[in-house]
Subunit: 456 residues, 2 copies
């Protein structure tokens, strides 16, 4: 079978586009998810063109071989993990920014382009590609699209899907479909663009994207506040979101702050229950006014410390605390990074539930994340060499998903379902929605060749 | 057949929920589209609950009868027009705002609620439901969702779909599906919410929507500028969008301005090739600064007149000119209102094409619309009693669609395809995309009972 697949691929792909070296295959089995299962691919296809992508799907369809698309492999849910005998389809060679239309305020890019490259290309024309997942420096646009990646700025500017005007997609049947277009508004037909965005490679392979660019925002004013209680921090989040438009609103709990202080001492308040970091990019006097509104909300909610700065370098220093959150927790052991979302009003309940789970399971959990969107990353820290600790960590991870669902939330706000959370999807969706998902999958990929075992 | 359908419905619906009075049926045949064909329904169902909606679909499925959902009937593409023998499904009785969650910043509403009612309910809690189609005072949320309606504020705040967190939908098979949820970010599964939004009643019946609310923006500063050339106005639009974030950016051409002046004299410049109306709602000093940036862009682009005001009453007066655009054109004859979109950079070309079409077809066309989104409404004015004029008007309407497509645009930016533009959809989508649309339609509605003959 493997021989057949490789032979068939070699007939249709250039030599450069096909790799069977076992070491290379080994390196393309996984994304960055802990514990998500990964099989052994039979081949790595590295197409340079849409035609080559189509050729890969033709082989897969003919020989009934799974195709697992991947970008930089920086995913956190196992969405890009290989299944046994699959073809891994790397889009990394299709990495060009094909066009930046300054007056039209859009960019046309290939899926393998790094998010950072798109930002840079936009900046050359004085424009801005907004979506900023934490991985923006090393993740690809294709991966961002596949997971509908979020980030910090989405509290004001939306997620990846909000920045997509159109796509080129190769379907399981080998047809090449264009969705959307180059206009900001477009209601001609179904919103196929949004159907493919976030579908984790299970409905088609995105080979080109037309992305919306924006004017670069003015310089930001940054605020830091410390709270003696989680409830107080949660109240401040609701108040801020209900009265103004922060360009960023992040939370770190005590465990996270202590991890940061242990690794990169910055003089943060390690006794506070939570810190909030917020920004306004309204600019000038209005930026200061917005931050003033935020500061007042923090004080009303019982903050013991509030400071802000319009100095960009100082603002970046403060942001460092948030950027160090995950790597600081990683210093303390193996980590299981969760990605749950709850309605804005229920953040304090989520944080309390996580504390309870940590105590009950006897594990350490640092929680940080995008408070302004209700999207938090409780991160279980454990000793990888302690089997019992690993088991309890995994239980705590699952408990957090249940807690989010109990609060009317979601098992994934921005990382995707992948294989890691597949078992939890039915509990969130319900049987009717799950059935509809399967109907769509069946309609678009009747042979089940596209990333089987992921998402659904 | 009609007897069977009515009998079957009467067994499942309350007396109040079923109407067969011919005069009432007659009044429910049409939306507001000119010349879109309309058949005669066999019954009007006015369900009060999701269960009753389901019952209607059960009857439709069993007896293979088309179901045409409608809200206020204010649509402009014939999307809600009856087909012969169909059941018209009015959602007007399901018109409650079920919940406003102030801290969670969301509202849960039934489809028959007016957009205005949702805005009012949000305002009671100090919040804002942003989407503002021109019909907001009399159109329903259900209709807004079915067409993914736009409006004036979407240049900054997005279209209807951008304000939807989740839906309850009754499918053709009678199952009731919940999509999305109550969180701002959610990537658990396919984006089914966006699949139903804009699907014009062809994939399911929306029976509930969870809508995102926002803080009320600060008071707006309004700008008016007059341009001697269309190219100059188009350049100003690009410059403004490329440098700042207007909360509204509207254009009116000379024909439209003259119609407004003829109907409601305001002292507008009737010699200008185009007027631009823009707003910043950044508030305070920043609002004035943003409007200053816009004013400078207008002057650079050759504006002969630029003024702005932070006075709200005066701002509303200026906005009146834009609000009067369509009714003023209606004073001059029958109208065919188009709704095309082009990439931002191509607005001048679209306007020039429309002028050319007007001259060639010997018709009057007033063009106005949402310049900041590239979404324009060229409106053909003609004498309804002159058959030749009607023919030329229809030809001009079609020419405008072709012109938009030639410019890389869309045949509909916010009104929908309905039956009016159905014939043009293949030219925009291409055969592969059209096939995919049909595959989805077939998967969700295999018997074709949901609004057949619309969109696809």
């Amino acid at each position: 079978m493997t021989v057949d697949v490789v032979q068939a691929l070699s007939r249709l792909l250039s030599a450069e586009s096909l790799v069977t070296d076992p070491d290379v295959l080994q390196a393309h089995r996984n994304d960055q998810a802990e514990w998500a299962p990964a099989g052994m691919p039979c081949a790595l296809a590295r197409p340079a063109t849409t035609s080559e992508v189509r050729a890969v799907l033709d082989v897969a369809r003919t020989l009934r071989v799974p195709v697992v698309a991947r970008g930089a492999g920086s995913g956190l849910s196992g969405g890009a993990n290989a299944s046994d005998g699959c073809i891994v389809l790397s889009l990394l060679r299709m990495n060009r920014v094909l066009e930046v239309d300054r007056r039209g305020m859009l960019a046309v890019v290939q899926p393998g382009a790094l998010n950072a490259a798109v930002k840079a290309a936009a900046a050359e024309h004085g424009l801005w590609y907004a979506p900023d997942p934490a991985s923006w420096e090393f993740s690809t646009i294709g991966g961002n699209l596949a997971t509908n990646a979020g980030g910090l700025c989405c509290v004001k500017y939306g997620v990846t899907g909000d920045a997509v005007l159109g796509l080129e997609v190769v379907l399981a049947d080998g047809s090449v479909v264009r969705t959307g277009g180059r206009t900001v508004k477009n209601v001609a037909g179904y919103d196929l663009t949004r159907l493919f965005v976030g579908s984790e490679g299970t409905l088609g392979i995105i080979t080109e994207a037309t992305l919306r660019l924006r004017p670069r925002p003015p310089k930001a004013t940054t605020l830091l506040a410390a709270f003696p209680t989680l409830v107080g921090a949660g109240k401040a989040v609701c108040d801020i979101m209900g009265t103004t438009r922060p360009s960023l609103l992040e939370l770190m709990d005590r465990t996270t702050v202590r991890a940061v202080e242990a690794w990169k001492p910055m003089g943060l308040d390690v006794e506070a229950a939570a810190l909030l970091l917020a920004r306004s990019d309204a600019g000038g006097a209005q930026g200061e006014e917005e931050v003033g509104v935020m500061a007042a909300a923090c004080e009303r909610a019982g903050a013991t410390f509030v400071m802000n700065t319009a100095d960009e370098a100082e603002g970046e220093l403060l942001m460092g605390a948030r950027r160090f959150a995950y790597p600081a927790l990683e210093q303390q052991g193996a980590t299981l990074l969760d990605d749950v979302g709850v309605p804005l009003s229920r953040i304090p309940e989520l944080l309390a539930a996580v504390e309870h789970i940590a105590a009950q399971r006897g594990v350490r959990i640092g929680t940080f994340g995008h408070a302004g969107d209700g999207n938090m990353h409780p991160t279980v820290v454990f000793d990888r060499n302690d089997l019992d600790a690993m088991t309890r960590a995994k239980q705590a991870f699952d408990d957090i998903l249940h807690a989010a669902l109990d609060l009317g939330g979601t098992i994934t706000g921005e990382h995707g379902v992948g294989s890691l959370k597949r078992g939890f999807l039915p509990a969130q969706l319900g049987s009717e929605s799950l059935h509809l998902h399967r109907t769509l999958k069946q309609a678009l990929d009747p042979l089940g060749i596209l990333n089987p075992g992921k998402l659904l």
